[in-house]
């Protein structure tokens, strides 16, 4: 039997190699876009796999080539580990001639890659990470942040809902991401004269929320705000339904929720949920057509960060064409100069701190009987203009360009 152990080790080794493969040597005569994202981990559905589709769609829509060179897409799995992402980003920029890196779900990864890109004067367009410091202390002359920050998402929801509901209970996942969502919402609530009746912090990946929900219920608050993400949000919603949170007169808001998650829950658990998104596929006919096209290719609806990836790649290629070169400084200057306009983002612009400015949408999940098709899952509560949603440029952002 001991003979079998080496065989198993070899088999396991092969598996690991198969997962790590997938990057190709670059040719000097093409424009190369690197997509660094979670392709296999807990956020792969909401980000990585669909971003590969979205980025390729943008390249195809642009015509597949720019400045007479073909546009190539490389995709790599960062496994949610900043050190893996850093190594890959260095290889891409230094060896493989990658011109721009996008994706980067997970703020720790985004910050790591941002540092490397800034050091080399290379372009990074983040369509994933949501840390506020990406347009604050960690802003970069060659860096752009396409996704909305935690502050913009949570703050917008809090601002809109607190107009009517003044007493809140925060259910927060106990790590920096959750706490920054909570802080952003609490700051807005205080300025609007609303009160926080209680805060419960739960560990990441909690299976049972019942005791926290019990606390929320007995706090007497009118709004339960979920400052968590992914599966934690879904489980909390499911169990909130079970414990009759809505029946006891509370409404629920998701401070970080994606429209594509609605179908992962049964109707009773999710209907009426209020949250903010940067992408609303029913905004106009073009956005709807794009979402349908994405769905045909991917077999699932696009999340907001996948939509952002499409926009970021398309806008980058437009800027390369306008600049007539892939030189980072010139391309970035063009990216800031030409307005953003595509089916996903609608109309927008890029501010001097690298913040992409676009309208944000406060949405409410529809009850299932009111849905007419796969794309009809939410109603729009309010469109919040870009300036209001993103606020002024951070005083911590110092660009030496």
């Amino acid at each position: 039997m001991t003979k079998r152990a080496p065989t198993m080790a070899v088999a396991a080794g092969c598996l690991l190699l198969a997962c790590a493969g997938g990057t190709a040597r670059a040719a000097g005569d093409s424009v190369i876009i690197g997509l660094l994202d979670d392709l296999s981990g807990p956020t792969a559905d909401l980000s990585g796999k669909g971003k590969v589709v979205a980025a390729q769609m943008a390249i195809d829509d642009f015509g597949g080539s720019v400045l007479g060179k073909p546009v190539k897409l490389l995709a790599s799995d960062h496994q949610n580990k900043p050190e893996i992402a850093s190594t890959q980003a260095r290889e891409w920029y230094d060896r493989d001639g990658v011109d721009m890196i996008t994706g980067m779900s997970n703020s720790a990864v985004a910050l790591a890659v941002r540092a490397i890109a800034r050091e080399r004067g290379k372009v990074d367009v983040i369509a994933g990470g949501t840390a506020d410091s990406l347009v604050g202390a960690d802003c970069s002359p060659t860096g752009i942040l396409w996704t909305a920050t935690a502050r913009a998402i949570a703050g917008t929801t809090a601002a809109v809902v607190s107009q009517t509901e003044k007493s809140w209970f925060m259910l927060t996942v106990d790590y920096s991401g959750g706490k920054s969502l909570e802080a952003a919402a609490v700051e807005v609530l205080k300025s609007k004269g609303a009160t926080v009746a209680g805060i419960a912090r739960h560990p990441f990946n909690t299976a049972d929320f019942s005791s926290f929900l019990l606390q929320a219920q007995s706090s007497g608050a009118k709004v339960l705000a979920l400052s968590n993400t992914g599966n934690d949000t879904l489980t909390a919603l499911k169990q909130a339904n079970e414990f009759g949170i809505r029946e006891s007169g509370m409404s629920i808001v998701g401070l970080y929720f994606d429209t594509t998650q609605i179908r992962a829950l049964e109707d009773a658990a999710v209907k009426g949920l209020i949250y903010t998104s940067s992408f609303f596929w029913n905004r106009d006919a073009q956005a709807t057509a794009w979402a349908k096209r994405f769905m045909d290719q991917r077999g699932a609806l696009p999340s907001q960060s996948q939509a952002a990836t499409y926009s970021s790649v398309l806008h980058y290629l437009k800027a390369v064409k306008a600049a007539g070169t892939t030189d980072s400084a010139k391309v970035i200057a063009e990216m800031r100069r030409i307005p953003v306009e595509d089916p996903v983002t609608g109309k927008g612009w890029i501010r001097e701190d690298g913040r992409v400015m676009y309208d944000m949408y406060v949405m409410k999940a529809k009850p299932r009987e009111a849905m007419t098709g796969p794309l009809d899952v939410v109603e729009l509560v309010k469109t919040v203009p870009a300036d209001e949603a993103f606020g002024p440029v951070s005083t911590e952002c110092h660009l030496k360009s």
Binding site: M1, M8, S40, G41, P42, T43, A44, D45, L46, P203, N205, A207, D208, S210, S211, L214, Q217, S218, G230, N231, L234, T235, K238, Q239, E242, F243, G244, S248, T260, Q261, R263, A264, L265, E266, D267, A268, A269
Partner: protein, 295 residues
């Protein structure tokens, strides 16, 4: 308001009841592990994955065949049991004669494969599974709101746990089974087909995991990783109760659930580690576990 050690009784009773609910999941899962370890000497690392498979089967039956919760409660465990039989017959059986570690490695590998397949096929976001109509809603107990479904989980899993305990410790079939683990050759000499009995035991053990999966589907998100989140705690429960002790698994499962609930009242930050602290203490004082016997 009357207070108990500075804690309002509402919070205390509420958390204790929630602890009991979690405890009944621990009991059901650790029971399957204990049966498999006690009878087969296999440390079944695939238990969590099969619990996940049970939940997924319930979801698949519902979405693709329109079969609801109640039939799934019977069908899904049977199917998981059949998977278990297949695994035992084709793979696990070859490892009985060697060290426990090989069984552990094999089942761990199987767990990764199961999770990988479901993750690849259905992604990581999870699938919705509604509470059956009959068990919707809840009742206000004065100190807390008890969802009917959770009450059902406690009652049903207690029934299954004690049924299993009775079958193994108090019936003739159980006696054969226990005898077969003590001395398989001798029992076979009496004309009892020991290999078949062992296969069926493994099938039954994992069917319990599948059953827990179906019970969990309406409460937790049906997700490829739901098993690996739970399996470590369940192993701790089995170790504390005594590897292979049926009664130990049941009593410890419920007890630790309650204890976790209590910890949430007095010192919430420790709720996640209290089980492991107890495991460490028990291992130091009574290495065979609370109900285990030294071998």
């Amino acid at each position: 308001m009357v207070q108990l050690l500075g804690i309002p009784p509402q919070a205390l009773f509420g958390q204790l009841l929630l602890g009991l609910i979690n405890g009944s999941f621990y009991a059901l899962l650790s029971l399957g592990l204990a049966v498999i370890f006690g009878m087969l000497n296999v440390v079944n690392m695939a238990h969590g994955a099969l619990y996940m498979v049970g939940a997924f089967l319930a979801w698949l039956l519902m979405t693709h065949a329109g079969i609801g919760y109640w039939p799934a409660l019977v069908l899904a465990p049977l199917m998981v049991g059949a998977i278990g039989l297949l695994l035992e017959r084709t793979m696990l059986r070859r490892l009985y004669k060697v060290d426990h570690l090989y069984g552990l490695l094999l089942t761990f590998g199987l767990a990764l494969i199961f999770e990988g397949i479901f993750r690849h096929q259905y992604g990581v976001s999870g699938q919705p599974y509604p509470i059956p109509d009959l068990l919707k809603g809840g009742s206000n107990l004065g100190f807390m709101f008890l969802p009917t479904y959770r009450g059902w989980v406690v009652a049903f899993s207690l029934l299954v746990c004690f049924g299993t305990w009775y079958a193994i410790e108090r019936t003739r079939l159980g006696a054969y089974l226990r005898a077969a683990t003590e001395n398989p050759t001798l029992v076979q000499a009496f004309g009892i087909n020991v290999p078949v009995m062992v296969s069926l035991t493994y099938g039954f053990g994992v069917a319990l995991a599948g059953l827990a999966g179906v019970l969990a589907a309406p409460i937790y998100q049906v997700n490829p990783l739901m098993g690996s989140n739970l399996i470590i705690v369940v192993f701790a429960v089995v170790v504390i109760g005594g590897m292979g002790s049926i009664l130990g698994a049941i009593v410890t499962g419920l007890g630790l659930g309650l204890l976790e609930g209590l910890t949430k009242v007095f010192y919430p930050e420790a709720a996640n580690i209290v089980v492991f602290v107890i495991m460490a203490v028990v291992l130091m004082i009574k290495p065979a576990g609370l109900f285990g016997r030294e071998r």
